[in-house]
């Protein structure tokens, strides 16, 4: 069984986290739509910003996922894209946030 993802987030961002996760859900929906439309450039752009935004807040697994999405989009690797987008959904759903001072 896969381990539950964990993100270590600075305490000062606690109040913002619901909005942050809502933005990731929005990213996920946008990725699905872009995949449906075959818009790989759009997927690469979303992956790029996902990596920047998530890394900044301490969501390192999502950061890597963003980079993988960007790389798979640039490579035109559709099966990988499907897998990464599914993984993003899982992480949005399961990531445990641990606050740090």
């Amino acid at each position: 069984m896969e381990q539950r993802p964990v993100a270590h987030v600075y305490e000062a961002f606690r109040d913002y986290m619901p909005k942050f996760m809502a933005n990731r859900t929005r990213d996920h929906a946008a990725l699905l739509a872009a995949l449906e439309a075959g818009d790989l450039a759009r997927i690469a752009a979303i992956g790029h910003s996902l990596a920047g935004n998530c890394g900044t807040y301490g969501f390192h697994l999502m950061t890597q996922l963003g980079r993988d999405l960007e790389a798979a989009a640039e490579a035109g690797d559709r099966p990988a894209l499907v897998a990464h987008i599914a993984e993003l959904a899982r992480q949005i759903d399961q990531t445990e946030i641990v606050y740090q001072a």
């Binding site: 600075y10 000062a12 961002f13 913002y16 909005k19 942050f20 933005n23 790029h48 910003s49 990596a51 920047g52 935004n53 998530c54 890394g55 900044t56 807040y57 950061t63």
Partner: protein, 331 residues
């Protein structure tokens, strides 16, 4: 310290703003689009300066190239001193080069690391403060220089004026005469000089006191000065109750006309003078001389001729002008 955050990502805006607020920076403005950024970049304070102290600029934004915006900021004289820190997920050395080529002062990569971010922000703000201080010193220096120049001009003007009457003094007269004398030589034009003396002024002082005497001198001085209308004319107080009048480009007929007008106007002041043997009011006598000076001649001859004419006017009964007949030639 006012900081502008330009980033289309709400997550990054919140992240940066939160860290800055925690560090005590509360004057923050955020822009997600070029239009919003332009509004903040166009703000000016009372002195016409931008109120911004730092710009944090995302490189990649929809419909906007961060490098291009940075170039525009650095090309604007009213914005170019504001430090720009570019924030981007691009990490290749080519990107770094492009950022600095665009004029960025610093470069931060995403994911943003908290400690590094605050260190870079503080460093950029320190840079801005130092530039502001330097500019303030320069402005202060300019202001002081202007004050000094004004004070010098005032001193120059004071040293050229007679303390009592406020008209030119003897020193200014001498300088002015030399200048006009040389100009008259160059232009081969006639220069006129009128020597003026208040009749029975000692008697006036004895009768009415020195304060009244001073007042009389002032009134006569201003009446005479009203006739020096052109840049080449000057009325100066020689000392005591004597005045000298220089009239550039003026022949004998013109000089006599001015002398008579001066005499008439002083008489018309109707300053009562009971101690005068000439008239019941204060009057003046004038000696008029004109000359078209030749090279190697000195202006002293003109002054002496007018002085002799003044003596003639006095001898002939005062309250009149006399012309220097023996001063030749007027060509």
């Amino acid at each position: 310290m006012r900081i502008l955050i330009i980033d289309d990502s709400e997550d990054v805006q919140v992240f940066i703003a939160t860290l800055l607020r925690l560090a005590g920076y509360t004057d923050l403005v955020t822009a997600s689009t070029l239009g919003e950024a332009a509004l903040y970049l166009a703000e000016r304070d009372d002195r016409g300066c931008s109120p911004l102290d730092l710009i944090l600029l995302d490189v990649m934004m929809p419909q906007m190239d961060g490098y291009e915006l940075c170039r525009r900021i650095k090309a604007d004289p009213s914005l170019q001193d504001i430090p720009v820190v570019m924030v981007t997920a691009k990490t290749k050395s080519r990107d770094l080069e492009e950022a600095f080529a665009a004029g960025a002062n610093d470069y931060l990569t995403k994911p943003i690391e908290r400690v590094e971010f605050m260190a870079r922000v503080r460093s950029a703000l320190r840079l801005k403060q130092e530039m502001d201080t330097r500019k303030a010193h320069e402005l202060e220096l300019e202001r002081k220089s202007a004050e000094l120049e004004a004070a010098n001009a005032r001193l120059r003007s004071l040293s050229a004026l007679d303390g009592l009457t406020g008209i030119a003094n003897r020193r200014a007269f001498d300088e002015f005469l030399e200048r006009e004398w040389k100009r008259a030589i160059r232009k081969a034009s006639s220069l006129a000089f009128i020597m003026v003396d208040i009749d029975h002024f000692k008697g006036y002082n004895d009768r009415y006191g020195h304060l009244a005497g001073d007042e009389c001198l002032k009134q006569v001085a201003h009446t005479l000065a009203a006739h020096a209308k052109r840049p080449g004319d000057l009325v100066a107080r020689f000392g005591g109750e004597e005045f000298g009048v220089i009239l550039a480009d003026t022949d004998m007929a013109g000089a006599q006309s001015v002398a008579e007008a001066m005499r008439r106007d002083v008489e018309a002041l109707a300053i009562v003078h009971e101690a005068s043997a000439t008239a019941p009011v204060v009057t003046i006598s004038l000696g008029v001389a004109t000359h078209v000076p030749l090279p190697l001649e000195t202006s002293e001859r003109l002054v002496m001729a007018a002085d002799r004419a003044l003596y003639q006017a006095k001898s002939s009964g005062r309250n009149r002008f006399a012309v220097a007949g023996d001063f030749l030639p007027v060509s």
